[in-house]
């Protein structure tokens, strides 16, 4: 009788990826739960659209109460849709490594033979795709409910601005995630703190031009500030007159922000990981 005892030697060898193949495999693996999770639990869509819509409606009614021009209603709808990205970067990118630490996954990420940069990129891509769907739904619903009229000047520039703003924003999220490696209980509070002040200084509900030039310039470090300003200039009739800088200049600055944040994320992540290992913070759990 043939001996069918299984031994490690008899098992088929699993092809092992290394280098850029492993990098891409990791990106896909980390993006996968974000995309599939959304499909499996569709109720998320309701809460992620319904809650921001209430905020959008409240600000729209404030503008109606003070008899603002109709374009301002559109500004609120576009800004309200973009809040989905800021919340995603804040809670599902920056503070994600803190949640992973809380649940005991962070140490596994570190000891696995993959790049942390690939994990963050996977989180960013998965989150970006899922959030884009939510933002689109908020925009469509808001536009229908409040009868917003758009006058798109250049689709090409609009797509470019959006993609650059997203790249820079998620690059910033990756950079912030590395800082959160060192945080514990305070991570939740810091994310919580960064919501309303950023809505304010990035002009989510009004044109950033309303601020003093230097305040608006400082706020431009957050990619959504210029991204929103440029998008409003490109989709509303009164947009160009209320824009902070010209669209081509804003595109140029967004390109620079993309480079700074992505390169910064790579170096900061490596540094923070070393620091967190040295200080023993990767597995701490201070509740």
């Amino acid at each position: 009788m043939e001996n069918k005892t299984l031994s490690m030697e008899n098992l088929p060898r699993v092809p092992k990826n290394t280098g850029w193949r492993l990098f891409i495999q990791t990106v896909i693996a980390r993006a996968y739960p974000r995309l599939i999770g959304q499909q499996r639990e569709k109720s998320w869509m309701f809460f992620d659209i319904f809650l921001p819509m209430m905020g959008v409606a409240a600000y729209v009614f404030v503008y109606r109460a003070i008899q603002a021009p109709e374009d301002y209603i559109g500004f609120v709808v576009v800004g309200g849709a973009m809040t989905a990205f800021w919340l995603n970067v804040l809670w599902s990118m920056s503070s994600q490594l803190y949640w992973e630490k809380e649940q005991g996954n962070l140490a596994l990420f570190i000891i696995a033979p993959n790049s942390m940069m690939a994990i963050l990129l996977g989180m960013a891509l998965g989150g970006m795709v899922a959030t884009t769907l939510r933002a689109l739904a908020i925009m469509i619903l808001g536009s229908l409910m409040f009868q917003v009229h758009y006058a798109v000047g250049s689709f090409g520039q609009l797509v470019m601005v959006f993609l650059l703003a997203m790249t820079a924003l998620y690059g910033m999220g990756m950079m912030a995630a590395s800082l959160f490696l060192l945080l514990s209980r305070e991570a939740w509070h810091i994310s919580n703190l960064a919501q309303e002040p950023v809505y304010l200084i990035s002009g989510f509900y009004f044109p950033i031009k309303s601020f003093n030039f230097w305040v608006a310039a400082a706020a431009s470090v957050i990619p959504l500030t210029l991204g929103l300003d440029a998008m409003r200039q490109l989709v509303f009739l009164s947009g160009p007159s209320l824009g902070f800088l010209s669209v081509p200049l804003e595109i140029g600055i967004l390109v620079a922000l993309c480079i700074v944040f992505l390169v910064g994320a790579r170096y900061l992540l490596a540094y923070m990981e070393r620091l967190a290992i040295r200080e023993g913070r990767l597995t701490e759990s201070r509740r």
Partner: protein, 298 residues
């Protein structure tokens, strides 16, 4: 050899009032520690101030752009005061209900609360005290900012202090009962537990006329605002602080302060009874289903 003597084995019988006070006091202390001891006092003070001020500043900038800074208008007082005092809604109502999730999922101590000789609803009320204190600080600072920099016309000599404190106390009780109701619901929820509190708070923000008069809402949505106690509470607070605001908007101008108080008390009592009943029902369901020590990692 020295004998060790133990206290007599008689259990100490505490009166219900004593149990109430003890649960409340310890829960309030615990709540304050959780709220504040994650950082040093200076950073905590900054944290407590920045968020409400930024939230108010969004409305101030929106208003200022459209009206060219006409802060003397009663519309501004209406928006600013409504937004400032709305901080209590988020803090007390959402904060109390979140305590269930925090204790069950994060600290994993909810089951110990249930086996301890305390009253859980009173414990939840106590945990709300810290939220009330933090919200009070933010309301005070927001009002101070409005008076100092935005021509918010609050004349301390003209404020109807009696009405203000009466409305504030009833309002806080009303929010606590709503928080208890949500806490009961949270006992039975495994998914989206953060979203329910936010959804209720968001709906109240939208429909109670917190930052715009109810006339701005489509006519078919206005009745929603009229059944919410927060609508009457905010109106009373505005009237007590800046009497002229009431005359500027027709929403509740035909209703006297006394009538508003009566409506607020009536709705608060209805909510209180509903909350206690709902909490008890949810609690018994949670016991039956073994959900009090559930950890979902959601």
């Amino acid at each position: 050899m020295t004998a060790i003597s133990f206290p007599s084995n008689h259990s100490v019988q505490l009166s219900p009032a004593h149990t109430f006070l003890r649960s409340f006091r310890i829960a309030a202390w615990l709540g304050w520690q959780i709220e504040s001891n994650w950082t040093d006092p200076f950073l905590f003070a900054i944290y407590s101030v920045i968020k409400p001020l930024a939230s108010a500043a969004i409305l101030v900038v929106m208003y200022s752009i459209i009206t060219q800074g006409n802060f003397a208008s009663p519309v501004f007082s209406y928006i600013y005061l409504g937004n400032a005092f709305y901080a209590y809604v988020g803090a007390i109502m959402t904060g109390m209900s979140w305590t269930i999730i925090d204790d069950r999922e994060h600290y994993k101590t909810l089951k110990y609360m249930y086996i301890a000789p305390i009253s859980v609803p009173v414990y939840l009320l106590g945990r709300g005290v810290a939220k009330f204190v933090v919200a009070s600080i933010s309301v005070l600072i927001t009002l101070l900012f409005g008076v100092l920099f935005l021509q918010l016309k609050i004349n301390l000599l003209e404020v109807n202090w009696g009405l203000f404190f009466l409305a504030l106390v009833i309002g806080v009780l009303m929010l606590a009962t709503m928080g208890l109701l949500l806490a009961g619901v949270n006992l039975l929820i495994a998914h989206h537990y953060g979203a329910y509190g936010e959804a209720v708070a968001g709906a109240l923000y939208l429909f109670s006329g917190a930052i715009f008069p109810l006339e701005v809402l489509p006519a078919w949505l206005r009745p929603v605002g009229f059944i919410m106690p927060v609508t009457y509470w905010l109106e009373l607070i505005r009237r007590s602080l800046v009497g002229s605001v009431a005359d500027a908007f027709p929403t509740l101008s035909a209703v006297s302060n006394l009538q508003l108080l009566a409506i607020l008390v009536g709705l608060t009592v209805i909510f209180a009874l509903g909350s206690i009943f709902t909490f008890r029902w949810c609690e018994s369901r949670a016991r039956e289903r073994g959900m009090l020590d559930m950890v979902t990692n959601y």
